[in-house]
Amino acid sequence: MVAFIVRRVIAAVLMLVIVSVATFAIFFLIPRALGQTPEGMASRYVGRDATPEAIQGAVKRLHLDDPLIVQYGRFAKGIVAGQDYSLGPRKAECPAPCFGFSFNNNQPVWPTLLDRLPATMSLALGAAVVWLVAGVSIGVISALKRGTAVDRAAMTVALAGVSLPIYFTGLVSLSVFAYTLGIFPGGGSYTGLTEDPVMWFQALVLPWVTLAFLYAALYARLTRAGMLETMGEDYIRTARAKGLKERTVVTKHALRATLTPILTIFGLDLGLLLGGAVLTESTFSIPGIGKLVIDAIRGNDLPVVLGVTLFAAFFIVLANLIVDILYAVVDPRVRLS
């Protein structure tokens, strides 16, 4: 088991290196391959209207004329060990992990990310609890009551849930529950948990429900399908043949097998959302990582986009790692390979 975990951790670290290379290539190699010159890249740091001398200065300072390998090495070193930039007259210290500075406000990227993380985490974790509980219970009930009115109603709602985009359900819920009925605060009212817990909660109810509706619908369908398959397995028949009560057959034997693959998907979905719930955050104007990256893309803010990409990749790889290890704990057959 220890060897298994060590192997997985090494694989995860390798994965992150590969992701960083790929990301770097996308942001630096492809523009160069498409004909962008170091000067063209540098002009984005100092502004388009800068004098040629200023641009040349930037190329030198940022070492944009170095071979790309060297540039990648510096980029990677910055993340691991930090680095110092000389931005014009002043020197800027950028401690590890260094993702550089925003083009738009010259703020270091990493602290900005950390600053945005709590909002995204609040949103993602809260929604995850809601969708996991709701989705799995609805899926199980639907499977056990297969073909009944309950099943059909649940699956119709679930179909709506997976088909409707978040900005639609989000805007409808905002206009009904916030602007018409006034039960919940409107968009842009997110407040940090430590600042005002009540406001934090109230402001997040609609985003939670909106995000969870989509995922709960997905999970209800997955759980139902998995449950139907499991209930037809031979070992469920064996469990009944022993004389077990149906409730025990469902909870101890069927659910255990059904939830294992769902756990995997859950880990990945959560990892993905922790890297920014882009649509939900923009619909409800929540100052999270998703909102940050949308604004950065609009503002052509390359270092921020790069930072968020790697940050999100980190969460996905981490989620993958945790899921792999959990899976081995839950499913004894995995440990063999």
Binding site: E233, A239, K242
Partner: protein
């Protein structure tokens, strides 16, 4: 409604299990009756799809609940089970009647150890601590011939070999000393030596517990040594029933002859079977009219057209030996003595 309780330990009366499907009504079991006493073994033989597994699941009340239509009577130790409440039948499962399933790998839960699964089975019917149940599980594993049972009790099913899994399955089924044990193809997946060991083991255990045993198989060779009585199934119906001697030395149904002729033997290549039955098993939705076996039967022409128009009755030919065939008794015996038997022996 039902007739008085029979004296036999297990008695099926006109059991029918039909599944409504999109293609039509599947008559998996269609009017099956037999009796079985404690300490005795009944072999049920038939090709794939003849309804053997559905019959045994029906006895345990596990034939897929609401959608199946079940009728007839199942009497177990003086109790009728078809009309009994689901919850009552549940309390009988495991303790009063138990089953060894066809495929032990898929029939054991992949996420629980073999020990956990036996312990669970034992504790449903015995109010004991986990430690006591664990001792019992180790005990059972030892008795079915698993080496180092105190270690293997913590193994998962996928860590066992096929033969070991089958033994573990037997240990689980026997953990509560069931009075009726149904073994569904207990040896099909195993090689010949292991097969013999498992069959011996089941016989030993049966003697020890004096339980009634039903062994289901498509291979007459398996039931030859084990069974007191043999029931041959075809298309959901019993087509011949008798003692093992009746079936092996005086069989009267053309289908049974076919089974005997296609019996694999140690001294022959499996592909080199004497007299395989031609054609495929009948559809259970559109059962051939008349005798269900008529499209495949070499003697159908000798019944003056009755084979395709009239369903033959299961009639006694002699001393409890039952046969479902239109051929007159003398003609059947003649064919057996003069055509089939010499051919089987001549090989």
């Amino acid at each position: 409604m039902s007739t008085p309780a029979p004296s036999a330990f297990l008695e099926l009366r006109d059991l029918r299990i039909h599944f409504p499907t999109e293609d039509g009504l599947v008559k998996s079991v269609d009017g099956l009756s037999f009796k079985l006493e404690r300490g005795k073994t009944l072999g049920i033989v038939g090709e794939s799809g003849s309804g053997k597994s559905v019959t045994s699941l029906g006895i345990l009340g596990l034939h897929k609940g609401g959608r199946a239509k079940i009728s007839g009577e199942i009497w177990l130790d003086g109790e009728e089970l078809v009309g009994a409440s689901q919850d009552h039948v549940r309390t009988l499962r495991g303790k009063k009647m138990a089953m060894i399933f066809q495929d032990p790998l898929s029939s054991m839960h992949p996420f629980y150890t073999v020990g956990q699964q036996i312990i669970e089975a034992y504790r449903i019917h015995h109010d004991v601590s986990k430690a006591v149940a664990r001792k019992h599980a180790i005990d059972m594993l030892g008795r079915v011939g698993i080496p180092q049972p105190d270690k293997r009790v913590d193994s998962y099913p996928h860590e066992f070999s096929g033969g070991m899994r089958q033994r573990a399955m037997i240990a689980m089924a026997l953990s509560c000393d069931p009075e009726l044990l149904i073994a569904d193809e207990p040896t099909t997946a195993l090689d010949v030596t292991v097969q013999a060991q498992i069959l011996d083991l089941m016989l030993d255990l049966q003697r020890e517990f004096n339980s009634a045993l039903i062994v289901i198989t498509h291979d007459l060779g398996v039931v030859a040594e084990l069974s007191d009585d043999i029931l041959v199934m075809y298309g959901g119906k019993c087509i011949e029933y008798g003692t093992a001697e009746d079936i092996f030395y005086r069989p009267e149904h053309p289908y049974t002859w076919g089974l005997l002729g296609s019996m694999p033997r140690l001294d022959r290549e499996p592909t080199d079977r004497l007299m395989p039955i031609k054609g495929t098993p009948p559809s259970l939705i559109n059962v051939p009219s008349g005798c269900a076996f008529n499209p495949r039967c070499p003697y159908a022409g000798r019944t003056a057209g009755k084979a395709t128009t009239e369903v033959p009755q299961l009639l006694e030919t002699e001393g409890g030996h039952l046969v479902r065939c239109h051929l007159p008794r003398e003609e059947r015996r003649g064919i057996w003595e003069n055509e089939i038997k010499p051919m089987l022996e001549g090989q």
